[in-house]
Symmetry: C2
Subunit: 355 residues, 2 copies
């Protein structure tokens, strides 16, 4: 088993974490290493559930914050081991999100008496179906461990606070027709031709850009799949357009569905999956204090992240981690070492640790 050296700097620790391959479903080794390292710290109470490790200070502070990062990565793409070059660390998981995990481990080891109680969560299976997600499982098995006044997810956000997140809903819009031999097409109704209207409506979509807590969100409505066809000589009787709606967090899932049903009025609309957004919650004291502590710059988050899980539990949450979110899941994934250092420094200061 790899022994993690929590006295090393956060970049070196990131490198160690990256070199423990942990594609979703294969997090045992990294979770073991993390658990052993955290259990060695007498000021933390450690709980393990599956391959999710939770470490808490229990100092009786007036406020508790969660700082969380997932341990898994998307599949290998010939991008291990980690490689340093010109102030940048390259490799699978450097950006999404072992740089953030290293920051968590460094804070856990070096801030034994934070000014607010901290629950560090390093969890499994964020990159796959929600049913396996470590935070999701923890909220079911040990809801008490999720309780907090505020949560920070170390998702890559360019070391700047990204607040809230947009919701996402996928629906199938189905057009129907009537089969006929293509040599006698007047005897049928072509369902693919019927999809012209669906696509024309999508082209006419006007994005909402609501301002929420001072942040401008920007919606999107896009066909992500289209499929129809029976045989090369048959007019198809069905065409399915799969549409992904990314909606600003001032809209609930029910409102999003209602909007889609009106938008595609006249067609069969089936909801395939859905996840709510998260309002930034920047008016809440804990969030406000955090944003001020790390410099005041905040951007809206467009992609969906686990902040929505905390939001659903009533815990305001933000993304704040090293790395460019656009590089997540890319073969050439990498992280500027300075991002890792910035995140560690600012979080340590906020927790009242020595700088």
């Amino acid at each position: 088993m790899t022994t993690l050296d929590l006295s090393a700097d956060a970049v070196t620790l990131t490198e160690q974490l990256v070199n423990i391959e942990s594609v979703s479903g294969n997090e045992r080794a990294i979770a073991d290493a993390v658990e052993v390292a955290l259990r060695a710290l007498p000021h933390l109470t450690v709980t393990r559930r599956g391959d999710t490790v939770v470490a808490r200070t229990e100092l009786g502070r007036g406020e508790r914050v969660v700082i969380a990062g997932h341990l898994d990565t998307v599949p290998l793409n010939d991008n291990l081991p980690a490689r340093r070059e010109d102030g940048v660390l390259h490799g699978l998981g450097t950006c999404d999100m072992k740089g953030g995990d290293a920051v968590i481990l460094r804070l856990a080891a070096t801030v034994p008496e934070p000014n607010r109680d901290v629950t560090y969560i390093l969890y499994e299976a964020e990159e796959i179906e929600a049913e396996f997600n470590g935070l999701n499982l923890l909220a079911q098995s040990d809801p008490g461990l999720m309780v907090a006044d505020f949560a920070i997810l170390m998702e890559p956000s360019g070391a700047i606070v990204e607040a809230g997140c947009q919701g996402t809903m996928r629906v199938d819009v189905t057009t129907v027709g009537e089969r006929a031999h293509s040599a006698r097409s007047w005897k049928g109704v072509n369902a693919i031709h019927g999809a012209a209207d669906v696509l024309t409506r999508l082209n006419a979509f006007e994005e909402r850009r609501p301002l929420i807590d001072g942040l401008e969100y920007r919606e999107g409505l896009n066909a992500v799949f289209i499929a129809g066809g029976v045989a090369g000589n048959v007019l198809p009787d069905e065409c399915v357009v799969s549409v992904n709606y990314r909606f600003a967090p001032d809209r609930s899932e029910a409102e999003a569905e209602q909007f889609l049903r009106e938008f595609f009025d006249g067609y069969e609309v089936t909801v395939r999956d859905s996840a709510p957004g998260a309002v930034p919650g920047l008016g809440l004291p804990a969030a406000k204090a955090f944003v001020e502590a790390v410099g005041g710059e905040v951007r809206p988050k467009f992609g969906w992240t686990d902040v929505a899980r905390f939001s659903a539990l009533g815990v305001p949450a933000v993304n704040f981690g090293p790395g460019d979110p656009m590089l997540a899941h890319k073969q050439e994934e990498h992280v500027p070492m300075a991002h890792i250092e910035t995140c560690e420094r600012e979080l340590r200061r906020w927790l009242g640790g020595e700088s």
Copy 2:
């Protein structure tokens, strides 16, 4: 081996042929039975190529006609053996086209001295790729056996002459875009949305209805497949619309392609397959005489059939067989016994046989 009884009536003979299963690729048994039965007739010269059997009279008449039918069927669909009910014969191949094959065998056996020389062709693999088609192979191996002044294909046509056939061309029309995460869709270009214009053009297609030899043909332009999509959270960079153009036989394949390239101007158009139409050729003496002999009623043929192969060889050809062409390839395929009897009676009279 089943022994075919050519002295039986044509309906009984149809039943015998239907009960020799002969899905494309499995025509050996039926071709053996047909070959043995035809070789027993001293007035015919028989040639076998693969599972195609050719039998010719060689009486030195001033005119030669081909009468042809394929021996294969589409796949079984729980529709064998043959079953009689209320003047109708049910089962795989009854309509497409063993009723016609039975008429051919009856004529071969019972009209030893026709008033025009006849080449009877019973061939393999009409229902699958053209490269296996028995007529296609015969035209290559023994072009002399295809020479004739006129050809009759026993394809189901409701026992009425169906003349000519429309051409068919399949093209892929491709729209291109630029991938982006659906949470930040303004960074990409959605290729599925781009297909709205392709489908709108298809909806605006105005069919040509040219009059050729007094018959009105009716074109069709239809999307038969559509496909696009990368992942549930990605704007796709490509969408392919597969379009089938059925064109009247006054238009060549080159003209059809030219039309499609202009119609989809601005998009990548790739021809996937193509087959020429066949003009009815009803002005030609042999065709004219045949139509008059069988009652004068002629309809245009919309679907593509092997008459186009004869047409390409300079041989005017028509479809004239028992059964409703709309029932071909259907599970509930069947043929009215009266159609079989009508076709046999009219062809026998035309060939100068005893009625």
